[in-house]
Amino acid sequence: MDSDTKMTEAPNTRLLDPKIFDHLKNKIDEDQQVRDALSQVIQRLDRAISHVQGLLSRVHATQRSQYPAFLAQVEAGIQDEITVIGELNEMASQHPYYKYNQKWSRSIQNSIFTVLLCGWLGGLSPNSSAESTEPQQGRLVTIEEVGSILKVPVNLKDRDSFHITIEEYLFALVDLTQELSRLAPNAVTLGDPALSIQIASFVGDIFAGFQVLNLKNDALRKRVDGVKYHVQRVEEVVYDLTLRGMVPQGSEDADKPSSS
């Protein structure tokens, strides 16, 4: 099972060739250096993300009429994320992707979430050049669009390079339904029940989408299990609105009917 070539090369006076452990030591040192360098970039990415998340949290106290200015700020923050992700992309692509991806996976999820929420609220419009008048809410930014916004490839299969995985996108999608389920009651408080109805429709559709997946008993499954509570929360809001006749006329057809 092994060619005893080594035997003839080295005299048998030693158990081991010291080169073996020099090699291992170098590998370990290299590995540690890569991890340290990645940690630094990821730390900066986390800072950029947390700034955007802070900005986004204002949505719960922002009238829809003020969205354009609000979203402009968020988009500027996302630009910072994109810059750092560019650096991460460059650094990480020099190494096997899955060797280190657990180091940044969480950060990338958060970053995707900021893109998804910003897009849902009407930001990051793909045809911004077409001078759209008012931002439209309710858009789902697809994984391909997330990739082109963050300027990184998506779901790579034949090339070992940095990219966004489907799992990361799905995790971020759950974060989105969670955040929207918080926005639904707050929109009512802000006097905008139409937005809540729109959220209900959207979250319901996402929930139906998740049903299509064959999830294993893993972290994603656990996270996706939470979506039904997000649905429940927005349905309660819709119930309250319906009960009191507060559902605005025509708001339901603005989107597709929800599956409540």
Partner: protein, 275 residues
């Protein structure tokens, strides 16, 4: 989806927008695509885990065969045949998952491929018995019967586990022969490095010297922040202590003891042994 909306009105059949074949929601196609991708991933993982389990079992069997050997030097023919047969089976299992580990998937499923550690252990142990030297990473890589790249951790962790096997080997042979394998009965501390080390001269290094050389090499490695590494390091130290104790016992009482006397070690050819 219910047939009526919350006002009790019939829903329009696939109204307004395009999207003809949407089964559940407007995001149906997107999620169907994700489902296919995730299913592919889970199937691949499943195949790898199954093959890995089989390779682990076969590697353990190679190790058991090797443990039945009671001296250093060329392996008995039956042992070598046994190893060759098992390696052929291992080859079949590993080549079957080769495509699943192509490109970026090698590291993606690294966790499900722990069998490689076990295989390294078997290869390194058999080589040690044969030559009393440590097989280097390139030679191990060449001995893996499939084009699956070994990581430095596969190699390192496999070699860590060699200590457990060497300890069992030293213990069993000591029980059978009344002395530590390799070298002479006297002079346990003698590393035998100066002596020409071949079968004709009859002087080999003591196995305890090998323990010391190899464990010092590991102790000198930079610290790896990893639970596996730490626990394997501990297991290594335990094995070294055991063989030191064994050597001491032989040096002190060796002459008083009849051949065939079994020292106080419970680990014999225990198939449940899981190092």
């Amino acid at each position: 989806m219910s047939k009526r909306d919350r006002h009790g009105n019939m829903r329009p059949k696939e109204g307004g927008k395009a999207a003809p074949a949407v089964p559940q929601s407007r995001f149906g196609p997107m999620f169907s695509h994700f489902r296919d991708e995730l299913d592919e991933h889970h199937d691949r993982r499943e195949r790898i885990i199954k093959a890995s389990r089989d390779v682990t079992a076969l590697s353990k069997k190679i190790i058991f065969s090797c443990q039945r050997v009671n001296k250093l030097g060329p392996l008995p023919r039956r042992t070598q045949e046994d190893i060759d047969n098992r390696m052929a089976e291992i080859k079949a299992h590993l080549t079957s998952i080769e495509p699943d580990l192509a490109s970026l998937n090698r590291y993606r499923y690294a966790h499900s491929l722990r069998c490689l550690e076990e295989l390294v252990e078997a290869l390194v142990f058999a080589h040690y018995l044969r030559t009393q030297t440590l097989l280097d990473p390139d030679a191990v890589e060449a001995a893996v019967p499939a084009s699956i790249a070994l990581t430095e951790y596969d190699y390192m962790y496999g070699v860590f586990d060699l200590f457990g096997e060497m300890m069992r080997f030293a213990t069993v042979t000591a029980a059978q022969t009344g002395r530590l394998v390799g070298g002479e009965v006297v002079g346990v501390g003698d590393d035998g490095g100066a002596a020409p080390q071949d079968d004709s001269s009859g002087r080999r290094r003591h196995i305890l010297a090998d323990f010391h050389e190899l464990s010092v090499a590991f102790e000198l490695l930079p610290e790896v922040h990893d639970r596996t590494f730490r626990s394997k390091m501990e297991a290594m130290r335990t094995s070294v202590r055991k063989v030191e104790k064994l050597g001491y016992g032989i040096a002190i009482r060796g002459s008083e003891r009849p051949k065939g006397w079994l020292p106080d070690f419970k680990d014999d050819h225990d198939p449940g042994h899981d190092e």
